[in-house]
């Protein structure tokens, strides 16, 4: 596949358009940006970390890990992984696919459910690293209890994918904020 060539092939491009929610321009731009990150050895499989784009995103590592197909689990992205990522975060992606990936991003221990530990980590990600913004343990407990109260429909102490999607689908601004642009 000529994915790492300096210019994308026409048929590959059209395939990518078929398979992602991206337009031609976006794919080309993505490719340009991606190849800017590569050094001379473009030929072999590029294992480049692309955390440049999410400089201040608290989930940057999770996002890379979720979309990475690398065997080494280091969150490195190939160009195709990168396209997958951009597609899921694009304007026109469906709520379903967005919520699926959001769930996997929030599922810190990769066990298929959001349990108390995941939620705690999530809150810590959202409130930032500094001590002044961090919640106290009491607040944290209260918050997580409230969240489970609302969204854990089957009361098993965790939020699973369908519960998560149910909650997300009602939210007015998930689709508009779950976006990344190049």
């Amino acid at each position: 596949m000529g994915t790492t060539a300096s210019q994308l092939g026409k048929d590959v491009l059209s395939e990518y358009q078929e398979l992602t929610f991206l337009t031609k321009q976006e794919i080309l731009l993505a490719h340009k940006r991606f190849s800017e990150l590569l050094s001379k050895e473009e030929r072999d499989r590029p294992d480049t970390r692309v955390n440049i784009y999410f400089i201040s995103n608290p989930f940057r590592q999770r996002i890379c890990q979720v979309f990475s197909t690398s065997d080494r689990k280091d969150g490195s992205l190939t160009f195709e992984d990168f396209l997958d990522l951009l597609s899921a975060f694009s304007d026109s992606a469906t709520l379903e696919i967005k919520s699926h990936y959001a769930f996997r991003i929030f599922d810190f221990d990769d066990d298929g459910t959001l349990d108390t530990g995941d939620l705690e980590k999530l809150v810590n990600c959202l409130t930032g690293e500094t001590d002044e913004t961090r919640l106290t343990t009491d607040e944290m407990r209260q918050l997580i209890n409230n969240i489970l109260e609302e969204s854990d429909i089957d009361k098993d102490g965790t939020v699973n994918l369908s519960e998560f999607q149910h909650v997300i689908s009602r939210s007015p601004d998930f689709v508009s904020s779950f976006k990344i642009v190049l």
Binding site: I153, T158, V181
Partner: protein, 865 residues
């Protein structure tokens, strides 16, 4: 057969894929849970693949069953060549029937594949897998599509397939083209990534506004200004198109042109220049009618666009109106992934933390007001102060406008620049400083920031509106003055003409039209042009103030803070002056009011949309630059969604309020007698009557006159009111039904929860019991071989539970075989420990992990409801 080989090879690929994936799974030592997570997805895929295989097999059978089918094209060719005999044809017909059914199946398979291809992008697979599936399916479709259809139908089918392919490609290209055509996309995205979606929402709004103004500009420019300039009578041919003798000397001065006097006043830019000739040029273009219709059309178009956008926005945001997931939304959807600037991210962290804390506080309901009387008093005081401000600014504007009228009566030449531009400057300054004052006042009130923002917006809105309406009322006064003047002048002119005729009556009666230059003819004040000029001046001064405040308030401040910081006693960047924030609400309001002025004045000054397009274009670049180079992200980062419709609602209100005075003047005030396209008519809308009478057949005007008869209009209005009432009541009932359904859903949900809880409890009990008995039986087995019957029953139970442990929703219970008899003792606990170890949490109670087991079984039941 090449096709057969293809199929087998495809199957091979499938199997290979499976193997590869299995290896992949084996290789990945991440953890048991992750594998399960993946496995779930893979199960679904496998099922799909199975289905595909089945389908392919069917297709395959279709091929094999009739050998003829595969060689059909060749056979047909042969048939063509040899002229096949009758019995052969009969046989062929029989075969055709069988063929048809199989073709039908094949067609289905192909269609399914196509659907798969279309839905592929919505599937959360990694790209590699998607690519493989896509290529496979495409190959399949291409291979078999050709075999579908037969005879004439075949060609048609092939044609159809080709056309759909072409159409798809065209659609995709068109989509690409469309996105390429959207202006400033990259700029806005860059801003979005730096400042979050709220700042970007302003620029998107600006771009939307630009689009609307482009269309308004196209209408006025193409249907009014250009025809008049090209086909109308040229400059200097008649009094209304000539600069009067007294002004000729200064008509080209920059100061005069800047005020849109002189040559600018007597040009297509303003109402007064247009002639009342019914049809102009060789096209017989109906100028007055076109002028009127464009005036009405711009307003109608704006209404349509705003309302349509509002409806679409309401549709989009209509889902999330209930508060049942308050915390979860805060948790799962509060991060704005567009933020790419560390500072914005810090602000966002802070705001999320506050929102969490606030929500917790609200939940605890420990929020108590320390001194409610003081707060109330302060709020009343604040509102009183704001009202004073509003009244004061209104009076100031009224005063200034009256004063400027006095200046205008004296003649503008002997006044200073300030006195000439007082009105506009005062309005702009008020618009600049009053919001700051409101901001200070609102500090008294101690509202929640969101509420405070709404109050602030409401107050600024009231201020702008008040100013605008004071301005209009003052203009009305001026219009009345001009009309008085006009009456006197009209009388004077008749006197003047009479005297002229008297003086030249001895000579030729056609003489006056030759001898008198149009610049010398006395003329009326033309209030319409005056109104247009006022609006144009207002827009210009408003634009200038906006740009200058931008340059001084943002750029100069940023430069000073940046460079003076090296030699200053405190930290300027972090301390007092700091960099400015981008004020989204203020800018949006400014934009909306600017647009309101355009709508109001566009009828009397056709150049207004053009000016506005220019203004918006420049401010797009200027503000993009300013926001990127000298603003810092807001402290209160709030999300844009939901505010869009708020902007739109304000725009609609402004649109209505600004069309009101325009329509009032059009309908009630008679046009000037010697300028503009409607001169000589009693009212402006008489142009419609005139057109109906002279350009349409007689029956049409008759029908129209019947239709405009009150006897018909009143019932029609009644009907419309009834229709509105009906629609409203139906929508109300729908809403009620919605609420009812929601309630039902909730009760069902609760029911489900209870049921699930019970099921979970039961499963847990069962499991517990099973384990107990299993251990018991194991012990029994170890110690003394107890009765076989009892043991078998226990075993079965235990085995099923361990099965569930491993396979989730696999409800299949294999019968216990003799070899399995030793299982419960040796293997049953094994999966459990495995499970624990991978959880990475040794502190978990054994009951806890087991409790989560039936979860997998319950997922589908959740989805079903």
């Amino acid at each position: 057969m090449p096709r057969d080989s293809l199929i087998t090879s495809e199957n091979d690929i499938d199997v290979g894929l499976d193997l590869a994936e299995d290896e992949d799974v084996l290789a990945s030592e991440e953890g048991h849970e992750r594998e399960r997570h993946r496995g779930k997805r893979r199960d679904g895929d496998r099922e799909k693949r199975k289905r595909e295989k089945r389908r392919r097999k069917e297709a395959h059978r279709a091929e094999e069953g009739e050998d003829e089918v595969q060689t059909r094209p060749e056979r047909r060719e042969r048939g063509k060549r040899k002229r096949a005999k009758n019995d052969q044809e009969a046989k062929g017909r029989e075969k055709d029937e069988a063929e048809e059914q199989e073709l039908e199946k094949l067609k289905e398979a192909v269609d399914d594949r196509k659907k798969l291809i279309q839905g592929l992008r919505g599937k959360p697979f990694p790209m590699k897998k998607k690519l493989v599936t896509l290529r496979e399916s495409q190959e399949f479709v291409e291979k078999y599509e050709g075999a579908l259809g037969k005879g004439k139908g075949r060609k048609l089918y092939a044609y159809k397939v080709m056309m759909t392919k072409k159409w798809m490609k065209f659609q995709r290209d068109f989509e690409n083209f469309k996105t390429a055509c959207i202006p400033w996309e990259m700029k806005i995205k860059e801003i979005e990534s730096h400042f979050g979606s709220s700042v970007a929402s302003y620029f998107i709004f600006l771009r939307w506004m630009y689009g609307i103004n482009m269309i308004l500009f196209g209408l006025t420019f193409g249907l009014v200004m250009v025809p008049e300039a090209l086909m109308g009578r040229p400059y200097g041919s008649m009094p209304r198109k000539t600069v009067p003798r007294g002004e000729e000397a200064s008509a080209m001065d920059f100061a005069v042109l800047w005020d849109f006097g002189g040559y600018a006043q007597y040009s297509v830019l303003f109402y007064g220049f247009y002639n009342n000739q019914r049809a102009i040029g060789w096209l017989k273009f109906r100028m007055p009618l076109s002028y009127f219709l464009v005036g009405v059309g711009t307003v109608a178009y704006s209404y349509m666009v705003v309302i349509r956008t509002m409806a679409r926005n309401a549709n989009e945001s209509g889902v999330g109106d209930d508060n049942s997931f308050n915390f979860s939304w805060k948790m799962f959807t509060s991060w704005d992934y567009l933020i790419g600037n560390p500072e914005t991210a810090d602000n966002k962290f802070a705001s999320i933390t506050t929102s969490f804390k606030e929500a917790i506080l609200e939940e605890q309901e420990s929020h108590k007001d320390d001194n409610i009387h003081l707060t109330r008093f302060l709020r009343v005081l604040a509102n009183f102060l704001v009202l004073c401000c509003l009244a004061g600014s209104g009076y100031l504007i009224y005063f200034v406008v009256r004063r400027s009228q006095k200046f205008a009566l004296d003649g503008l030449e002997n006044h200073t620049w300030w006195e000439r531009n007082e009105v506009n400057m005062v309005m702009s300054l008020l618009g600049m400083f009053c919001p700051m004052l409101f901001d200070v006042i609102s500090a008294l009130e101690n509202y929640h920031p969101r509420v405070a923002l709404q109050w602030q917006l409401g107050r600024i809105f009231a201020l702008f509106l008040g100013n605008l309406y004071t301005f209009i009322i003052a203009l009305m006064d001026e219009i009345n003055l001009k009309r008085e003047e006009e009456k006197i002048i009209k009388f004077n002119i008749t006197m003047w003409e009479v005297s002229l005729y008297n003086g030249t009556v001895s000579e030729n009666s056609t003489a006056p039209s030759i001898t008198i230059h149009p610049a010398d003819v006395p003329r009326g004040p033309c209030w319409e042009t005056m109104v247009g000029q006022e609006f144009v001046r207002l827009i210009i001064s408003d634009t200038m103030t906006t740009y200058i405040t931008l340059l001084i308030g943002d750029f100069l401040r940023a430069v000073l803070v940046r460079f003076l910081n090296y030699c200053w006693c405190w930290d300027l960047e972090a301390g007092f002056p700091s960099y400015s924030e981008f004020d989204v609400s203020g800018n949006v309001l400014g934009l909306i009011f600017n647009q309101g002025m355009i709508w109001m004045g566009a009828f009397y000054a056709p150049c207004l949309p053009a000016l506005n397009v220019l203004r918006l274009h420049v401010s797009m670049y200027l503000q993009c630059w300013a926001v990127m180079c000298c603003n810092v992200p807001q402290e209160r980062v709030f999300k844009a969604s939901g505010s869009n419709n708020f902007y739109m609602a304000m725009l609609l209100v402004i649109l209505f309020l600004s069309t009101l005075p325009a329509i009032y003047t059009i309908v009630t005030i008679p046009p000037s007698f010697d300028c503009g396209p409607f001169s000589g008519k009693n009212r402006m809308f008489d142009v419609i009557h005139e057109t109906l009478e002279s350009d349409f057949p007689a029956w049409f005007s008759k029908v129209f006159s019947y239709a405009s008869n009150p006897g018909l209009v009143l019932p029609f209005i009644l009907l419309m009111v009834l229709a509105i009432y009906y629609l409203q009541s139906t929508s109300k009932s729908y809403r009620e039904a919605n609420v009812e359904l929601k309630k039902k859903l909730q009760t069902q949900n609760e029911e489900n929860k209870r049921k699930n809880k019970r099921a979970a409890l039961k499963a847990q009990m069962d499991l517990e019991e099973a384990r107990k008995t299993a251990s018991q039986t194991a012990e029994q087995q170890k110690n003394n071989n107890a009765s076989l019957q009892d043991q078998e029953a226990d075993e079965e139970e235990d085995f099923s539970s361990s099965q569930r442990l491993n396979h989730g929703k696999n409800g299949h219970h294999p019968p216990p075989t003799a070899g399995d008899r030793q299982l419960p003792a040796s293997r049953a606990p094994a999966p459990r420990t495995y499970h624990h170890g991978n959880h990475g949490a040794p502190g978990y109670l054994p009951g806890f992990s087991r409790q989560s087991e039936p979860r997998m079984c319950r997922v589908p039941s959740l989805q079903r409801h």
